[in-house]
Symmetry: C2
Subunit: 195 residues, 2 copies
DNA sequence: GTCTATATGAGGATAGAC
DNA sequence: GTCTATCCTCATATAGAC
């Protein structure tokens, strides 16, 4: 039961991740120092190395955690049905999942170049997996005859870019609710691949 | 006629901009040092300060030059006509202009946070100008009754995000020509705002 | 215009005391 | 687990010689 005085591993760990996420999203990985992160956590820089072997691992862990959560959440959401239903579900899921995670999404897209080659490959694999989810839906819809597009791969990338772009201008407490935004985007998505 | 030996201002200047553009796009502004840039130019770091007052100005000049070229080029291209013609022209222009400028576009989107507040405001103004070009077209199309969308601002941002996203996956010598890509995207754009 | 040399500071990471 | 102190490297920017 007794816990050593000064032992805060269950507090400092999450605080470290949270501070790193916020600071990296705001200033960029290269521009943020371990000292800055430590200051936000409330410890000295040296103490951070009890929680991460180095700065690179810190970035990698943030990105992998984000991608894992994304894939797991989509796995739960994906429930079959017609291609049209599945595409609507994907559209709304993507918006609902990404909107409250502005920092994570920003980092996942902007800091790829700061990953070591091995770490980059791993994150890239997870991203491909997610893209494959949408690609499957579009392929199914084409087979059903409810979707039409010239190129499957381009349609996939174009839709993801369109939906993710929302994060660059969305601000909480804006003039539209998330539900309204979902519906507006669903209208654009649906028509863009309509027969 | 005579030129002092060792005077290379007309060579080193452009070389500096070119090296900075490439390195910043690859590694990020914060991660690139003046020494790295100088090495690529072929001079010592101190010599760069004959061409730029500081690192921040270097970034700002790159971004402003890019936005100026973009706005000037679109100004030439924009020739009136029906909203449908104008939207097709915008779509093809955006792709044709941005595709060969991967580094510039990347920097323009990724390094905004590394601009000083004043510089940020100026670049942001130019970006808004460009967005307003598309917004005008969509508004005109709605008035003509040839376009339909729920929200003008979202439609504008969604289309720009979709088109610009192309830069993240396009590789020269891929399986599709630029002309083919233009047509494929135009199909997606046209349908997404169709009545 | 470019060089070398340097001022001045900050960076990541580690060692050893508590 | 955290602290202080420190190593070592690298950064931007400037000064003055050529």
């Amino acid at each position: 039961m007794a816990r050593k005085q000064g032992s805060h591993s269950d507090i400092t760990g999450p605080k470290l991740r949270k501070a790193a996420r916020r600071l990296i999203a705001q200033h960029g990985f290269a521009a943020v120092s371990m000292r800055q992160i430590a200051a936000e956590v409330g410890v000295q820089a040296g103490a951070l190395y009890n929680y991460t072997p180095d700065k690179q691992s810190l970035l990698f862990d943030l990105m992998r955690e984000h991608m894992d959560e994304l894939l797991t959440a989509w796995d739960v959401e994906e429930k079959g049905g017609s291609a049209l239903e599945r595409l609507e579900r994907f559209t709304r899921f993507h918006i609902r999942f990404n909107l409250p995670r502005a920092d994570e999404v920003f980092i996942a897209y902007m800091e790829l170049r700061n990953l070591s080659p091995e770490n980059f490959a791993e994150i890239e694999k997870l991203r491909r997996q997610y893209e494959a989810g949408l690609e499957d839906i579009l392929r199914a819809g084409e087979a059903e005859g409810v979707f039409a597009f010239t190129d499957l791969r381009i349609a996939t990338m174009a839709l993801i870019a369109m939906l993710t772009g929302l994060n660059t201008w969305y601000r909480e407490n804006g003039r539209l609710s998330v539900a309204e935004i979902e519906t507006i985007y669903w209208d654009l998505v649906r028509k863009s691949v309509a027969v």
